[in-house]
Symmetry: C2
Subunit: 478 residues, 2 copies
């Protein structure tokens, strides 16, 4: 495993030395990871907690790291000696991977000695921001594909090897069926997909020769790329010719892939040609600059496409290439273990943080089993399911509703306790299934692409009272 | 070093098995990496060649890779046995890192046995696409900053650890002075930057306490974040108070950082306050969602900002999150070593590839030492600098000009020969310097952000003739 301990912003270490000097470095602090709304975020799919756990368990400065830090000339030997023995010993509460999550709710909380909590900020954000971003994009793309197979094809346009590999993992959490990335297939057990490129076709004297050679090499997995020269005049007829030869030898062809041109028109014409030739069971796979918008448009146009290879726009989340998750101090503890809540003020009310160590609950209507709202409480608050529960908007508090006949679920589990994971890694396909099931518990009004209803993320009265009191106290300027 | 041999699309391996089966796997092939124009690309800064070289030198399937491929059930034992001994033995021609490059010109060419050339396609594209993208974005941002210090601060919003780390490397090639990413600092010798976060300020009873504690810990590197509560009423006055104490002890403060609010107004007011207090030599550093557009706008507004911390929009290249570089077959060789040029047709004239193994020259005017045009030739063509050279547009051939008093430079060197690098890695700061110098050889009309002139990338008559002949021959449909 790569040692990513230095994958941190320098200021985490300068602050670390400052806390060390002040004797504050082992004070316990609570930091929350959450993200803010954005016109493109309707809901998000949490991902990356597994890699975050691996990172935390592996945290240590090796000799070369310390030698490098020493070379910077800004750290004391005392402090470097302290770092030499540093490991992560804190607790981490987090939503499950595949969980549907919303702005403002703490999807991950670190409770750890100050210096550790500060040091891990950057890498936790990098990991969680990235995978949550791609899982969310994949979820939207798969929703547009309405149950069709979606293959992740973006590696060559990914922002580096990790972006391609952990991006493939996140894409599968969000609903993709497979990836072209063999490395991701090996690491995470994701089904891998792919057959041929244009270069294969160009490497034979004729297109038919190229198709025939491929069919002979992979008689039971024969999916032919038909757009190298002319899709309808050359590619599809040649594919049909080779499919007939294949069938004569007792093999059924898989289908064709279209990678350019007017995919709506070409797929409809190709479908007719394949059907007329008796290959009704072949699939038509499309690729080329696809995303949730183009897939929806192609479906509206009646394109005859069975499976979708989605590349650049998925693996980079092209219309929103960063989630913008933040990591904010929520509390510290005094010598007696009493909580001192912390708040970050802002002139924009929505940007004021929620103070104190918190829990997040999801409230479901028992009659429909659909999610009604998320509900953030101070840590340890209990919710009585047998009593009506008043929900109110955290800013416009006159917007309120009372719910009855509901159940609540604590959205977060203790992921890491005392620096060690509490449970083994979950198989990726189980996470995908969990995500799909939980998404099914949301009314489509909340998850649709166009002008969705805003799902409620409310505060408990106790948390709201604390926040109001702190805003009142600290919000008066100097 | 991580073994990234499996960082490839599955189809590279299925085609590999196909070529192996056909006995074509060791035929020599030539593939070009190039990218197409895009409304946001005026020029690009090539980067990633060093990591591409490391990847190629390290290419090998280890036992666990082969076991994984075997488990897929689609590869023959013959083929897996062949992969077991596979290494990269080919040649790679590439532009230098830091080179200013343009659409359509082959910035990297692989000449290798077919199976190897195909296998390395994906990872080469991933590496070159990513680093070239970020180096180009950085170059534009640094141009907007007009010589001010630019710090790369994006790690937490990067698309994974590699995106943050190799992105920082690329950002420095494009002109950034430093990075917050300590891991990148260690790996590449990049200067690292950073002091404190809002959490530091929130962790002390008062802002002044927080500033004072930091000043005591880093008396000679005291740059204070002044926007936690109220920049002008609280942050700057408290910073000045602590700066006075620092000076009384014989240390000069570094300055302040603004991370939110109206950076134009706040920086102007803060500058006045600092100057009036006798701290004219302190710097004002700004951060928060910056890019080339906002930096230019802030400069137009007269913001008093000395250094720029640029994060999300740089590290993700937010307005163009993928470069879209491609890898296209240009030629194969027959048994006698004769070149068989290859072409990929398209209904869009600009998308038709340039056939054959090629060279790329840059033509400079001797009087001004400015670049006039790039000039793509068939491999081995020579250009006589003592004779007038006719340049013509590769599509609209009536657009032509004759140049005299020029010099030419072969833009590419032999990066890898027979699978081994031809020269040691260059120090990153040397690459940055090279990039800046070469950029200085372009008229600003070609590199400016708004409506730039299109820099000419032309074909030699021999290459144009070959291309025309092949389009004529293959372009007639079925």
């Amino acid at each position: 495993m790569r040692n990513l301990t230095l994958l941190t912003d320098l200021y985490e270490l300068t602050m670390g030395q400052g806390y060390f000097r002040e004797g504050k470095h082992e004070e316990i602090a609570v930091f929350d990871v959450f993200f803010r709304p954005n016109r493109l975020i309707t809901y998000s799919v949490a991902a990356g907690m597994e890699q975050a756990t691996e990172y935390l368990e592996n945290l240590h400065f090796d000799e070369s790291d310390l030698a490098y830090l020493r070379s910077l000339g800004i750290f004391t030997e005392d402090f470097l000696g302290y770092l030499k023995n540093l490991h992560f010993t804190g607790d981490v509460y987090a939503v499950r991977e595949g969980e549907i999550v919303f702005p403002y709710e703490p999807i991950l909380t670190v409770k750890a000695p100050m210096i550790q909590a500060q040091l891990v900020e950057t890498a936790l954000l990098t990991i969680i921001n990235h995978q949550t971003l791609i899982a969310s994009k994949a979820s939207k793309i798969c929703a547009a594909a309405q149950g069709d197979v979606v293959m992740e094809f973006g590696l060559r346009r990914a922002q580096g090897a990790d972006a391609g590999t952990y991006g493939a993992r996140a894409a599968v959490i969000g609903g993709c069926n497979s990836t072209s990335n063999v490395y991701a297939g090996k690491l995470f057990g994701i089904p891998v997909a792919g057959t041929m490129a244009h270069s294969w076709v160009m490497n034979f004297p004729t297109e038919t020769d190229a198709f025939r050679a491929y069919a002979e090499a992979f008689p039971d997995n024969c999916l032919l790329l038909v757009d190298t020269y002319d899709t309808l005049k050359s590619g599809v007829p040649h594919a049909i010719e080779v499919f007939r030869e294949l069938r004569a030898k007792g093999h059924e062809p898989k289908g064709i892939r279209l990678d350019s041109g007017d995919l709506a028109y070409l797929s409809k014409e190709a479908r007719k040609m394949l059907d007329r030739a008796g290959f009704e069971n072949t699939v038509i796979c499309a690729s080329g600059d696809l995303d949730e918008y183009s897939i929806r448009s192609l479906k509206e146009q009646g394109a005859k496409i069975d499976s979708w290879g989605v590349g650049t726009k998925l693996i980079t989340s092209a219309d929103l290439p960063a989630l913008g998750g933040v990591y904010k101090l929520a509390a510290v503890y005094d010598e007696d273990g009493a909580e001192i809540p912390k708040i970050k003020l802002s002139n924009t009310t929505e940007k004021i943080t929620n103070p104190s160590f918190k829990d997040v609950y999801r409230i479901y209507d028992r009659a429909t089993d659909k999610a009604i709202a998320d509900y953030i409480t101070r840590h340890g608050e209990t919710i009585d399911e047998s009593e009506p529960l008043l929900l109110f908007h955290p800013v416009d508090t006159w917007k309120r509703m009372t719910v009855t006949n509901f159940r609540v679920r604590n959205l977060r589990t203790l992921l890491v306790k005392g620096g060690k994971r509490t449970s083994p890694a979950r198989p990726l396909m189980e996470i995908q299934k969990y995500c799909a099931e939980e998404k099914g518990r949301f009314w489509e009004e909340y998850t649709r692409q166009d002008m969705p209803h805003i799902y409620k993320v409310d505060l408990s009265p106790a948390l709201y009272a604390l926040k109001s009191e702190m805003v009142e106290k600290y919000g008066k300027g100097d």
